[in-house]
Amino acid sequence: MKRFLLCAVLTVAAFSMDSSARDNFVQIKGSDTMVNLVQSWAEKYMEINPTEFIAVTGGGSGTGISALIGGMCDIAASSREIKNKEIALAAKKGIAPKEYKVALDGLAVIVSPKNTVDKLTMDQLAQIFSGKITNWKDVGGTDAQIVILSREVNSGTHVYFKEHVLRKGDASSKEEFAQTALMLSSSQAIADEVAQNPDAIGYFGMGYVSAKQKPVLVAKDASSPYEAPTLENVTKGIYPISRPLLMYTPGEPKGTVKKFLDFALSPEGQKIVVETDFVPIK
């Protein structure tokens, strides 16, 4: 009997703990680009609010959004906007995803410091990455074949670059990366290859640029000024290849989710954005 009572007490305790834990527990899933940033936010947040717990996992923007639709996470981190198809899918399950712009990311187009080309227009970039311009001499460089480096298709950066640079934001465009493009599995792999290959061109988040790569100045079109991927230019919105980093909640956020989002958007949260090499929204 004693034993039975103990069991009952434990069960009740477990249940009550479970329900209280649910309010304090937030699951964030999504973008690999953002995983360091979100993790830093979570660590700082949990330092301030020790009774609450934030779990962060990566997997890619698409993975995060499908988890949000499937009710498997409380916040989806995404480096691309939610697609209409996904909104429709969510609506079917009675979820109306709410979008928060939490930071900005500038994509740097990088070449080797030995490369003589140091500025390109968006149109030239589109033609290089889709394989229409194949020689550096056509964009003012030496006579050498251009080696295109891209991230794998599982990367939100790959998708963003395709949609906004190759397709120029035109949803009906069928432009693709050249079949000759080398698909590398990480930003670091692209950084390494660019460092040792003077004919290579690649792209990644501006936080990855080091002295071994040279970021190319980019202009919106031939008559616009060429801009560098710097914090200042991205904040001002004059650097053409920058994207918002987003968070989605299933419907109106409340409790810990809301507190966490408020923290991310607070001055302290935005300071962490700068520390992790992204660009604050304010």
Partner: protein
């Protein structure tokens, strides 16, 4: 029935179940692959899938042609075998015929060690050594090519080829060699006119099993072949293999999407290729006996 008999019976059945387990698992894996993979043929015909020349799986609508991937895998594998076969067989001949006992032991453990090196380590070493070398030697725009992949994979196929070819050489009756020597053949003549032909089916089996090892390799090829889904025209171009495609893209493919099904269909193709290779290797091995 005594306790002893019952014990005997139980153990016998347990061993039987263990024996059948592997077959059971293979069948389960095949069924799973078929269930997930065949769905792709609702959006793309098998012919377009196998012979389509464009692989843009995340576009709308997706282009799901895996011909460049199949050719990429075959090219890298063929290159690896061309490199590792002569070296591997020569190594086996040396170990089986020429080396003194002590050297033999050292060589054999060296080869076992080579087999034990994780492929990601070989891939990494290849990336920082063979990739830049290939680039400078052949004056290429990039060193991430099929050839680089073949060289690194040759290291991985070598242990398989050496150990099976060596077994084949050992299993030739002593009388063959003695007969050849008695007829006045030199040691080298005996090896390449008598022993190697006698061991040929075993050596072919070694090649097939080496091929099986290489075609399924993923990590190293993903790191050093450049992964461009382009139909290769030479060894000095980047290629994308079937295995690297699955590994690189599975993480993001939305479960239930065409892309997801297509990756499983690639799994089916790999399964068929390995099955074919293993059956051929078995045929050669049994022909010998």
């Amino acid at each position: 029935m005594s306790l002893r008999d019952i014990k005997e019976f139980c153990i016998e059945k347990l061993i039987l179940i263990s024996g059948l387990a592997s077959i059971f698992f293979v069948v389960l894996i095949l069924l799973f692959l078929l269930r997930e993979g065949l769905a792709v043929f609702q959006v793309v015909s098998p012919l377009d899938f196998l012979f389509g020349q464009k692989w843009y799986p995340i576009s709308e609508p997706p282009e799901l042609g895996i011909l460049p991937l199949i050719l990429g895998s075959l090219l890298v594998t063929a290159g690896a075998i061309i490199i590792s076969l002569p070296i591997g067989v020569a190594c086996a001949v040396y170990i089986a015929e020429i080396a003194p006992a002590k050297t033999k032991e050292i060589l054999k453990s060296g080869i076992e060690l080579l087999a034990a090196i994780p492929s990601v380590v070989l891939g990494f070493i290849g990336m920082v050594t063979i990739v830049p070398w290939t680039k400078t030697i052949f004056h290429l725009p990039t060193g991430l090519t099929a050839l680089t992949g073949s060289i690194v994979l040759a290291f991985m196929a070598m242990p398989t080829i050496v150990s099976i070819a060596e077994d084949a050489l050992y299993s030739i009756p002593k009388t063959y060699k003695e007969g050849a020597l008695a007829l006045g053949a030199t040691h080298w003549q005996a090896i390449y006119r008598v022993m190697l032909p006698a061991a040929s089916s075993g050596i072919l089996a070694a090649v097939m099993l080496g091929t099986g090892r290489v075609i399924g390799e993923t990590m190293a090829v993903m790191m050093i072949t450049g992964n461009s889904a382009l139909i290769p025209h030479s060894f000095l171009q980047p290629v994308r293999t079937l295995t690297a495609t699955i590994a690189a893209e599975m993480g993001e493919a939305v479960v239930g999407s065409e892309h997801y099904f297509a990756l499983f269909a690639i799994g089916i193709i790999l399964f068929i290729i390995s099955f074919f290779i293993n059956v051929t290797a078995d045929l050669f091995l049994h022909k010998k006996r």
